[in-house]
Symmetry: C2
Subunit: 297 residues, 2 copies
């Protein structure tokens, strides 16, 4: 089985590396060739377009930035569908729109190509350690075929339903994070304003009903003045936008999500686009006329 | 050392029981005597008022409902301070107002009585198993004296700072929970509306950045249609009100907390005052014109 890989950013590079390490023949494409160099040195072949990747392989994976990129990669003039053959499979791992995922699946069906949406959570560390959660939407038959490959990339690989369900599940994941991040930043500001030592507070609140991954991981980073990305604010805003657009389509009122997105927009306004999601503290500080915490020395 | 215990509700009963089991002589008072009966059968003595408890003991613990109850118990005509002697100690474990905690500490200081605020988290199970987190505000000297008693009631006992700091820390704990609960309910509604199976979704989202105590414990209860209390909605609303009042005093804008409280007010409007905090789903369902999920058979 010949594998194609489109998108060699921080996530894609690590993930593709696992397939190369497992001995698969992999052909890669990326908008900028430089970021694929490391994979080419490990024997990945280079292709000049998504269509060329599709021409030379049987299963194509993609993980890029935005839904518009996904659309171009698959449906553009030099896209995967311009060259893919019946019986081939495409797996888009970008966090993208459920509606686009359904559209790709339909296009695929029309030309005998199996298409899965399979976005991931777990970040750069999960990609590096192959411990990602992979949320899959599509046909059970197609899922069964590529499952051994997905198992090389993540430890929690679950078929969530028909095309689009992987994207929907990823958006559920993002919605869950939003409110926790808002209250985490508010709680931290409250603690400081009330004259508490926020590190000592953590001892009291981390073991019970207030416990969360964000509290354990993001709260200490904020205290250290470390707003470096894990996951970019601008990408998180993209995901919240996707979730709100789907919610609107579903006629669903989600006021907490809407507020969280507005607060993250304020992080953009305060220069935090390429900082990590914990930079939400900038919005709460701005809102309260508090000077941003400088990074720890 | 003779111990007094005021407030024998679900929490107080279990906690007081641990001190009796450890062999301490305990005198109890409760507004309704019936709920103290179980402790009296275990050799607790009964007193007819908080003042009578104070008269006959050296350290008085209290855990009641609202700040107004705390005020009456300590400062009322038959209150603890009407009968306490210099050198005695009072420990209020009610989740109450930081300002009231400071006032009690001042009143205590004026008559030679050490006062701690020491609210808890961990719920009825934590009270029963003595695994509570106890967040303490007050003088280090007073804390040192009663610490061995607090260690009988909880496993995480931390002095957070001067009088009021225990209450502030508990409010931080509650603020942290609010946003997580809002996004949990919104994520669940989104999952259902998108046609996902919310139990299968949990497999994909519970191990990563969306993980939280609430997701692990409250999400399954909501799916089961189980809105029974753990912790009453009306008490959670009291805590959010205390936090917002303190935030106002501190000139702190906390929009997430404000929204969460408004949504919980809607749970009240939908008959959920004496349900558990997971009944927040009623507000989101009402907001979206969705009929409440009936309890599982």
């Amino acid at each position: 089985m010949r594998i194609g890989w489109i998108g060699t950013g921080v996530m894609g590079r690590s993930m593709c590396g696992h397939l190369l390490a497992a001995g698969y023949a992999v052909t890669v494409f990326n908008r900028t060739k430089a970021s694929a160099q490391h994979l080419i040195e490990k024997n990945a072949a280079w292709a000049d377009s998504p269509a060329e990747v599709a021409e030379r392989t049987d299963v194509v994976f993609s993980i890029v930035g935005y839904p518009a990129d996904v659309e171009e990669i698959y449906l553009g003039p030099k896209g995967v569908f311009a060259a893919f053959r019946p019986g081939c499979t495409a797996v888009d791992m970008t966090t993208s729109s459920p509606s686009l995922a359904r559209r790709l699946a339909e296009e695929g069906q029309a030309c005998g190509v199996g298409v899965l949406d399979a976005p991931v959570s777990g970040g750069d560390i999960g990609a590096r350690n192959a411990t990602l959660s992979i949320m899959v939407g599509g046909e059970p038959e197609t899922f069964k075929q590529v499952r051994p490959l997905l198992d090389r990339l993540g430890k929690t690989v679950v078929l969530q339903g028909p095309a689009g369900s992987g994207q929907h599940t990823k958006l559920v994941n993002q919605i869950l994070i939003t409110g926790t991040m808002v209250s985490l930043c508010e709680a931290l500001l409250y603690a400081k304003s009330a004259g508490l030592d926020p590190r000592v507070v953590l001892q009291s609140v981390s073991g019970g009903a207030a416990a969360s991954w964000s509290l354990q991981n993001m709260y200490p980073r904020i205290l250290d003045g470390n707003l470096e990305p894990g996951f970019y604010v601008e990408h998180f805003i993209k995901d919240m936008g996707l979730a709100l657009a789907e919610a609107e389509r579903l006629k669903l009122s989600l006021p907490g999500l809407a507020l969280a997105k507005q607060l993250y927009e304020s992080v953009l306004a305060n220069g935090g686009a390429r900082k990590g999601t914990q930079a939400l503290i900038l919005a709460l500080e701005a809102l309260n006329g508090i000077k941003p915490t400088p990074p720890a020395a």
